[in-house]
Symmetry: C3
Amino acid sequence: MSGACTLTVTVKCLLLTGANLGSEHEVREKDNTMTNFETNLRVKLPATCIILEMIIIILFATLVEYDDQTNAKYWHKEMAEHNLSNYDNEFYFRYPSFQDVHVMIFIGFGFLMTFLQRYGFSSVGFNFLIAAFALQWATLMQGFFHGMHGGKIHIGVESMINADFCTGSVLISFGAVLGKTSPVQLLLMAVIEVTLFAVNEFIILSLLEARDAGGSMTIHTFGAYFGLVVARVLYRPHLDKSKDKNGSVYHSDLFAMIGTIYLWMFWPSFNSAITAHGDDQHRTAMNTYYSLAACTLATYGFSALVSHEGKLDMVHIQNAALAGGVAVGTAGEMMLTPFGSMIVGFLAGTISILGYKYLTPFLEEKLRIQDTCGVHNLHGMPGVLGAIVGAVTAATATKEIYGEGMEDVFPNIHSGEITASYQGVRQALSLAVTLAIALLGGLIAGFILKLPIYGAPPDTICFEDGIYWE
Amino acid sequence: MSGACTLTVTVKCLLLTGANLGSEHEVREKDNTMTNFETNLRVKLPATCIILEMIIIILFATLVEYDDQTNAKYWHKEMAEHNLSNYDNEFYFRYPSFQDVHVMIFIGFGFLMTFLQRYGFSSVGFNFLIAAFALQWATLMQGFFHGMHGGKIHIGVESMINADFCTGSVLISFGAVLGKTSPVQLLLMAVIEVTLFAVNEFIILSLLEARDAGGSMTIHTFGAYFGLVVARVLYRPHLDKSKDKNGSVYHSDLFAMIGTIYLWMFWPSFNSAITAHGDDQHRTAMNTYYSLAACTLATYGFSALVSHEGKLDMVHIQNAALAGGVAVGTAGEMMLTPFGSMIVGFLAGTISILGYKYLTPFLEEKLRIQDTCGVHNLHGMPGVLGAIVGAVTAATATKEIYGEGMEDVFPNIHSGEITASYQGVRQALSLAVTLAIALLGGLIAGFILKLPIYGAPPDTICFEDGIYWE
Amino acid sequence: MSGACTLTVTVKCLLLTGANLGSEHEVREKDNTMTNFETNLRVKLPATCIILEMIIIILFATLVEYDDQTNAKYWHKEMAEHNLSNYDNEFYFRYPSFQDVHVMIFIGFGFLMTFLQRYGFSSVGFNFLIAAFALQWATLMQGFFHGMHGGKIHIGVESMINADFCTGSVLISFGAVLGKTSPVQLLLMAVIEVTLFAVNEFIILSLLEARDAGGSMTIHTFGAYFGLVVARVLYRPHLDKSKDKNGSVYHSDLFAMIGTIYLWMFWPSFNSAITAHGDDQHRTAMNTYYSLAACTLATYGFSALVSHEGKLDMVHIQNAALAGGVAVGTAGEMMLTPFGSMIVGFLAGTISILGYKYLTPFLEEKLRIQDTCGVHNLHGMPGVLGAIVGAVTAATATKEIYGEGMEDVFPNIHSGEITASYQGVRQALSLAVTLAIALLGGLIAGFILKLPIYGAPPDTICFEDGIYWE
């Protein structure tokens, strides 16, 4: 690859070829010289990973047990006592959905963020690391708040789905700070965010008894605004020094499309993964399917409308087409009707595109929020839209529409304890609580992450794998 | 890519830049200058997307309802009346298969077509757009022809699978015209093709009562010949001006393999997705699994046999290895036997390779059919083979072989209404009908798409993302 | 990306390098000149593929039948006789797991090996070929040893999973010889390895009655040591002549991450695919999930610790993060407890990283084992660890812990036939048998593959697609 060429030419051509696959070896060697003491993670990262894992293992050893569905003894006892068959094991109702969610978390989020030309290793790799950590930590935090049985946290496929959901929220925040943070910072952010996620989830689902099966509020709104505030606190005035790397190249955009398409395809499984058995899972999946389809048409239409020369913009397609899944996260399990889902999806795609075009530059210039992936457009606004749609749909629920199925979706309305309007109020209140905890939590996390001890990259070499990868 | 340059410089630069992704930015800027008024979609694409989605939403609002399995009220009523459990909900029988089919449609077809060096955005992106549109339109058209209940179209997971199937047919046709059409043309083609697909499906499945669970006829034969006729009508005599872009590069071929492998892996789910519960789904999946495995051996063998210097050709591997799935689309649910499936798969791989080697050049030069992806070899001939195998297998069905299982596969033979031979005749007749409707439909669609108002690319810049993507 | 360079040079280089990737064509043409008579497969590969497939079809025709779950007649008879519903068909218990395993075999293994800069076609393509062959051959061999019913091999979804498992073993061995073998050699290796796999499996599962649901012994230990011995016998003293190609480039590492992540995500399905219904499948999946998560934290921690300047090494992340799945392959179905799984995963990740850093160079220099993918670190040592963990966990099983669930996991202990300690001894013995058969088998296979008649590449052009691909 070099041989005959003189060094001068090599260097010149390196300048020319950028994310050149060919001269990788040289680029990497060059990157090494970029590394300075502060970003060397030889002590920091191993210490963080190993200590966190030790804590988790000790807490699992003292607090966590198989639930009745995974414990050999108790499941066989339960089968005998309640005349159940193995088919009644929750595994068969939920595991296929779990796997789809799992793909969204690790492939979907991971590859969606590979669009940056020189940040693919970190996008997929840090996504992998913080997700593997967050799902363990989430098992503990969520279990602590709403999974205790006789002093022990009981776990099974449902807690696995919930842990993945919570992880999704952290990955959304990751999108806001992508390229500007070290893996140590990200793990620390995950520690804080997972904890507050569990608190918020407990307040709105257990205390306020709101419904939010697909997490428009708990996952998307929370993750987005938490991450945006962190990004605000970590504002880098001289980030433009890295702007040549803050963009995509041809193949990095194709890798990102892998992430997009997987998120899009499996979103019906995401929204339906923890809804009630039967019609609820079925309906939620279908509502999401149609919402996303309508959202995609809006995305292509508005992308061509607002872009240069009527062309399509990959950033829009990669992100806005997914807003339809976010926006039916709350109402998807309700009797939203197929055309209702389509209207919500269409609106979500539209506001997402307009956000990328008009709001993101404003946020960056005026509010100093450098939102790398535009999570405000994909998760923030569509999440709020989803919460509002959920509140309205709940407020208009009637026995006439739901029949006996009301019990699964709105148990309190079914029992006559509250009216549908009041459920709507609870939903709206939950959105306010979520926003408050996300903003406050992001502020705290931001200031903790701002300490100059975690090996964050300097402004000149953000969005660059070479700093953390051999 | 070479022209003016001297060989010396070429070699030097090759040495320096290797598999350079890097100079993308410059290439794109250059592409912008290629854009002329005709291919500017700022008005055309938004108008098409938004109007189509509006029509769909209005039709869904007036015509479409949740079916008994997704409607909260009716499912609970049905459970109570028929003593069912939530597990009897169709969701649990079909949703995992649906998701596999969904992956084939969006990842499989989308990435299979990324083999072109400069058409990856359009391959995945237009695939995404027309699939998102087609599945909504298909819900309406298929519902109109065979899903009406009391004046309303009832939808659930089965209709979702059928909508994805119909979409697959459109994507096959997309393969024939890939690189030479604008997204507006493609959406219009989808409008027409989905409609005619539903008509053909109604005739052969409901009127002729043929069996075609995996769609050898309805999906593959129909989609391929429809697309080939469209390609014929849209023949471009000067397409060789774009021939430098009508080929693959190293990484585009790897992206395409993602598509190939996903299609290959999930084809058992595709063929079994709407077969009867129990042994039928199970057997169909297994027959397809073995057919594909045998097909793959044939593909590698014959590729090395017919290619230059005994090497393997990526085009063959990416496509012909899938022909085994197409060819058991009809007979897969029947008692084809595992070795029978293997023979069919082996034959399908063989004719597909021979088609790529000998027939495609003939089609292009003599019949003026510019079949970009070679859909004739992957879907056309194997589809016809599948229809014939299905007719023969049906004609030889006996009570001795099927037992009481006959009712699921051939209800009319089971009830004694018709003989097995007559079922075979119906199958053969269905092939003829499919071919007729596909050819005629393609002709109509082709002439409509030929109007110079949809922003199609000129002959000089086909197979080029830059024309439609920023 | 441009800066110092003059525009003229930029334009020239653009013209030369295109999207480049572009100069592939020239590179390929250049490669053609590398081809000499010995590596021309025009006769060898077609002959091997077609003859093997013919043999398989004949053996299937004479020996293989649908099992009672896939046979229309017998399934309907069984439903009637035992009052079963279609839901009791094994398909619904196992097919989603099968599909996940299938993805691991074809996408997971295939893309994991694409890390080499110029061997992506062969990695995915030969993986595809030998897997498609091996799963057919495995159906026969495994059926012959433990699937015979009245002189016929009965097949269904469980045999499909087992065939995919056996295939996985061959692909592990493929990893050891990657880049240095022709497809004809690989097919031959598959013939031998699948056969011996079935023998070993029969001895340890049927004769010794050991438990090994996820294949720590049968799949990983067997595949790794078989492959390592083959690599030893095929030792190439002058392989350093190809060392410029024996490494990754930026995008090839990203493709490899697709493989890694898919293997990681679906490993819970792999380990649980053939465990008993109910709590067993559920528990196995969950144990694997937590083992892998803990393993990932260990991987990142130790990678930064041992690598140059505290950076992360892609080779570690791509491989060691998976060791947690291997290491709970035996004990995953047992009552290992979640924190126990985490400890095992953490250990597996740690030894895997240390193996890559310190053992692989030793194996290569001292033992002359050129292990391209480091399968010893990913499958070998973690497989042995998994076998030991399994033996210990089995030896400590008590009625108090398992209750009636003991019957599913340890039927012989449940029936009182043997003690738990004795089961532990059987497990340990099985590890020894596995190692013995793998080493001996690898030796035989190695010497057969060493014959200079299969078109293997010369030392100077290993790790190079151009030799076998157009």
